[in-house]
């Protein structure tokens, strides 16, 4: 139990862990409460890493496999924290042929992440999308709500600098 708590405290504050435990406690004796617990937990913690899933499994007396199966099944749940900013690279056909692929590769290299991952410093979460409907502007990169059209690898660094 203690080890498990230490594991949690590496990523979350004691207040967050207390809230998680409170959620589990509240649902403990209600059958079929895994999904609401996960939902509430994600609201408090923002993401559900293995340590949290284990805590929930233990609290609700469910197999780890069950919790993991549910967390990965619903796209709503995420096991990785979100970055402060979200970068989406369009890999729809138009953007792809106009250099989207090169942009994506470069981003992956500079940020050290793969599709769906968040940088270690939690600055960026990196995703790819299929066509944003802005084909005329391709290749398109969207950071948070800002659309950056006609992106070039050379321009990338400078653009990223505006998002800290």
């Amino acid at each position: 139990m203690k080890e498990e708590r230490d594991e949690l405290l590496k990523e979350f504050t004691p207040e967050q862990v207390a809230k998680l435990d409170e959620i589990i406690e509240r649902y403990k004796s209600k059958p079929g409460s895994l999904i609401p617990v996960l939902e509430e937990a994600q609201m408090v913690l923002e993401y559900l890493p293995v340590s949290v899933q284990k805590r929930i499994a233990n609290g609700l007396n469910l197999p780890f496999s069950r919790v993991f199966g549910v967390v990965t099944f619903y796209s709503f749940f995420t096991m990785t924290p979100r970055g402060r900013h979200t970068i989406r690279v369009c890999l729809g056909t138009a953007c792809y042929v106009r250099g989207g692929k090169a942009i994506a590769e470069m981003l992956e290299k500079t940020l050290g992440v793969k599709e769906g991952q968040t940088t270690v410093d939690r600055r960026f979460t990196y995703e790819t999308v299929r066509c944003l409907g802005a084909c005329g502007l391709g290749p398109v990169v969207v950071i948070d709500n800002d659309v950056h059209g006609r992106m070039k690898p050379a321009k990338l660094k400078e653009t990223l600098n505006n998002y800290q």
């Binding site: 498990e4 780890f64 919790v67």
Partner: protein, 585 residues
Amino acid sequence: MALVTVTIDDIKVEVESGTTVYEAAKKAGINIPTLCAWFEGGHTPGQCRVCVAEVEGQRNLVASCVFPVADGMKIHTKSERVRKARRLVVELLLADHPQECTYCVRNGICELQRVAEQVGVKEVRFSRTEFPEEGMIDRSSPSVVRDGRKCIGCMRCVTVCENVQTVSVLTPAWRGSEMRVVPAFDLPLAETNCVACGQCILACPVGALYEKDDVEKVWEALEDPTKHVVVQEAPAIRAALGEEFGLPPGTLVTGKMIAALRRLGFDKVFDTNFTADLTIVEEGNELVKRVKEGGKLPMITSCSPGWIKFCEHFYPDLLDHLSTCKSPQQMFGALAKTYYAEFAGIDPANIVVVSIMPCTAKKFEAQRPEMKDSGFRDVDFVLTTRELARMIREAGIDFTNLPDEEPDAPMGEYTGAGTIFGATGGVMEAALRSAYYIITGKIMPSLDIMPVRGLEGVKEASLDIPPIGRVKVAVAHGLGNARKLMDLIREGKADYTFIEVMCCPGGCVGGGGEPIPTTMETRAKRAGALYVDDSQVQKIRQSHENPSVIKLYKNFLHEPLGHKSHKLLHTHYTPRGTNIPHREN
């Protein structure tokens, strides 16, 4: 239940309402192909759609394994529409499946192959050619290999692991085309609470789960002239090996098994049944000691390594209930490199001990760090029944026409009590025969203890042992059943003196290393063969009367539970972390 009449391909049948189309067709003499369904395990996810049929009035084809019939229903199972749909389903499966049949472990006994043949697939119009192994094959476990590339997502393994064994390691994860069946958190199997039982292998219709193959290492040892290679075979091998060579389940092939092992080149062919008898003498004495001296009761058997690992994970607080006796396999290894080495004047460093086991967990057990009391790794290699069969085929040995041969001395002789170890209830029966004698000095009025035999999940019996009085015992097989007894102990409600637990349904004859298919029916037949061995083949039926065991005590061990026994034949257990929950609510 009300009876209804349905017409299937113009054949009228009467069935109970609620029966599935699949069952009703069966009654009409029609075998609808199935793939994801595992009826014996109550597993019909209706997922693969290989079993589709046409029901008049239904727009879409129905999955016959789950669709219930209704009165007057007209069903077609061989119309063009049905045949085309089934073929398409199988073609799509094959398109996403490595075409490795010729060197796949399931070649010839694969349900996907069988179904492809049955539905008449002649080509695969969408074939993919690349199936990279990277990240898809998990070889971390010493017992079970998972090849995600061949997984068809039927989830049978999930059901057996969760419902039958209540270990719940495996789960479907992610969704849609990303869906994969993996251990929790996608961890390597070796890092989970998997007990290595291999029941998932038996449940898997394809080659996505299989035993870790150690055949090459054994060939290597046999080729090495500096090595003296000895082999032991578990009781359940002789009752099942014949199936690999076309003999019906329940054929006892002891003599041919021994002959085949000799032809493979083993220097000595001994028998695990010998150390099964020894286990009974040690365990029987341990039980009597616990009863007399107020030791921890109920005492629980410890010869099933999957069961031991399960206990270490889920009941670490109850480990002192386990008998300290090693399993027969490990007693054999420890003695082969001490007693036998001395007897034969061979340097134990040059002795290689190979076990033939019905069990994948035995591979794990042999590698446990503490299993080296002989000063060496006690058991070097463990092969399952299936691996042995593969070696015999590779060597071109005409198994069914082999003469019957006898095992070697001094570790080959066994009794009827030793042989029934392979069936659920057998260890209990064998132990009671000897414990009765140890306590009373007399032979039990009847050596057959019927209530502990058979495939009921939890069995109970009680018997009078004069000075002690009535002794209550229980037997469980399959970990879900074992769990029931363990929970009773935890609650302080178990008034048993002695409990036998076997990890696998049916006991070792239903082990994860046994021939495929292993069903409840084959389990019962194999157990039957062992009871025939006990009552009709073996002349001695009580372990303590085994002349080779008596000699072993006289010349080497000196006494049960003595100093040498303690060092070589007994062990301790490792709590593996509490708080691994197991099932919903």
